[in-house]
Symmetry: C2
């Protein structure tokens, strides 16, 4: 039987050029998070199912989870997100940890979705969370952090918008309008406001709640509570403009107060890119005193679409600096030279194969390497080596030290 070379549906292979792009993205996320004092952590891919069941969102658990019985008949789930996991970690060391505690991670998460643009079965997601701050400074910091990450990617003001709402206030209004209806049902409907046309939304609301008119009026009003006014002003003084949006609810059930999202304003891709909010009660599930928490999750696929659509991806280069081509029978003698080059901080690949030089150069080009270095008897004797720049086709004879300098300072991508 011939095996397929395709990856499993909704997952991706990362060839070196894809990995390079992913590493570029993650490095930016890491840099900004660490500049705010967030420390990196990680959680297992597999978790007991009960950790996620009824904590995250019914839709995810019942329809989109990769969950199964392990060989010991224990129900497990491949993490569909990681907020319950990080809460578990904090709960386990509730007393030993120092607050405010800032944590970030870039895990891959798993959801059984119908693959489409920006939605995959395996995706990566930056998670940044701050634990132990009750006051709105934490919510503000989280929004500012998200904004700074967008700016780190080169995003400009008009490209995106940050929207904020108070889940606490929204829940109160929903309760008033629909005292007997399951809250989550109404919240989910409201969260879809952006994607529905007005009449459909109103009709849906009328069916779902007892007193739809007051709720509808509230949702489309820009009414601001004291809390929303405060966060708006605090964000403003940090240089971030935010917009209050009463229909913003966010999918997860665990949010308790301020929620926010970063919205793509590109007309061709108008959608919520990522978001987060405050979840003050999650730790109580572990039988410990709750810790006030705020966090957000930023998916890689959506962000990648955004940076590509806005032409924010720079030229990326291979990690290999130079490809050494051995000329003739110089394997033994070339070893100390190659070691010296590596000692000078140069990343060196070696082509040992006994074949024509132009074939070797073609291979180097396929690998995206910009420079090739020829090492033969003559070069070894004279300690001068021929370096060829495959971008310009220029050849120069140089000492090892000069070669190291040249290949380490190259600026452009050649893939």
């Amino acid at each position: 039987m011939k095996l397929s070379t395709q990856p499993y549906k909704g997952t991706r292979d990362f060839y070196p050029e894809d990995m390079c792009l992913r590493n570029w993205m993650f490095a930016k996320m890491r840099r900004v998070c660490e500049s705010y004092g967030y420390e990196e952590y990680d959680v297992p891919v597999l978790e007991p199912l009960e950790l996620y069941a009824s904590k995250t969102s019914e839709e995810i658990i019942n329809q989109q989870s990769f969950s199964f019985l392990d060989r010991g008949d224990r129900k497990v789930i491949m993490r569909p997100e990681i907020t319950p996991s990080v809460s578990r970690m904090v709960a386990a060391r509730r007393q030993e940890l120092g607050y405010p505690l800032r944590l970030y991670s870039i895990p891959n998460c798993f959801r059984y979705e119908r693959p489409q643009k920006g939605r995959l079965r395996e995706f990566w997601q930056l998670n940044a969370d701050i634990f132990g701050v009750e006051s709105i400074e934490a919510d503000t910091e989280m929004i500012k952090l998200a904004d700074d990450i967008m700016k780190e990617f080169g995003a400009k003001e008009g490209m995106y918008e940050i929207r904020v709402n108070s889940r606490k206030f929204l829940d109160k209004k929903v309760k008033e309008a629909a005292p007997k209806v399951e809250m989550q049902e109404v919240t989910r409907l409201i969260d879809n406001f952006e994607k529905m046309d007005e009449t459909d939304f109103e009709a849906g609301l009328s069916r779902a709640v007892e007193k739809p008119d007051g709720l509808y009026q509230f949702l489309i009003s820009g009414a601001e509570t004291e809390e929303l006014k405060e966060i708006k002003s605090k964000c403003k003084s940090s240089g971030v403009d935010i917009r209050v949006e009463h229909t913003l609810a966010r999918g997860f059930d665990y949010y308790t107060d301020i929620v926010f999202e970063v919205f793509d304003k590109n007309p061709g891709n108008n959608r919520s890119m990522f978001g987060g909010g405050r979840y003050d009660n999650l730790l109580s599930n572990f039988g410990v005193e709750p810790v006030p928490s705020v966090g957000f999750g930023m998916g890689d696929a959506t962000l990648l679409n955004f940076v590509k659509a806005n032409k924010l991806v720079p030229e990326l280069k291979t990690s290999t600096d130079v490809a050494v081509l051995l000329i003739g029978n110089v394997y033994e003698k070339s070893r100390p030279i190659i070691n010296s080059l590596r000692g000078l901080g140069v990343n060196v690949s070696v082509d040992y194969e006994d074949r024509k030089v132009d074939k070797k150069i073609k291979s180097a080009l396929k690998r995206g390497e910009r420079y090739v270095l020829f090492i033969g008897q003559d070069e070894i004797q004279k300690k001068q080596f021929t370096l060829k720049d495959l971008d310009t086709s220029k050849e120069t004879k140089e000492t090892l030290e000069n070669i190291a300098r040249t290949v380490k300072t190259r600026q452009t991508r050649t893939r």
Copy 2:
């Protein structure tokens, strides 16, 4: 119901200090691999089961795999290793890729094992592979790379040993001694030689094969084939001593020729740490022309035991450089100062909470931060800030620039 704070059996939570150690390990692996021209790649955690079934090892698939049916009734497996996956990737772009192709990755892999020292259900594993080199230079490079990684961790000669064998030659001898027996059965027995006592091994061999005596004599002889002599000499000229060991077979079914392993010589932990070998036929499963391949996998848990036992772990520090403590109502005014510090490359956490200074310092200590910086009205006016070194308890008044210099050059770990 109270949820457990424990991670799923055989998996680990990585708190910041654990993550710091993991990042230290991975950075070293990356640095050495890239200096040899290996480029990073990644494959999905989930793969179709058939990709691994009968390719990897029966024991792993039948007893140790995390495999299940997805919601579309497709058999999937969480990667127990990644050699079949990377082979799939190479097969998919057989013609476009440039050879020699060098790839590395540090994926987490999953096996349902009884957790014990160095064996976990979720573990990370450096994988380095070279594709497209038929000659023994590739096998030599792989052994040299493994040796260099060990040295990068500070390992000295006597701490470990590299053992080599030819699977091709071993298979021939097995075939001669046991023409009618399933090869894998005998290979598995031989691979356990190191762990068994002599009499048991001989008895087992007598039961398993038709002509045990010749095979047993061969296994304990140091007889070297031309090929083994050549790799020994090539490794020697690269500065690596290797030992031929005829009982070395390696667990995976796909090896075709040279196999090697790095063996821990610590008397308290005498065991094979990791290894690899040549697998020239794996690509033929995808209906493409095979590509000669050599690779190895190095697990994180075993390596961690090794570096800890040999005291090779350095003092590691938090990524956060300084904790800012706000004194009084200075939230607004402190913002540009904190931004300036971040602009100077300093990673800054902020404690917004309204509580006593000694409580805030206690928190910073719990987080492993070494420096705290006080920002109050007075400091803002005079542009001189009080920096406290929590290691020495010394306080100094400094400009922002001096503070940036001090906190960025700290050397010691304070966790």
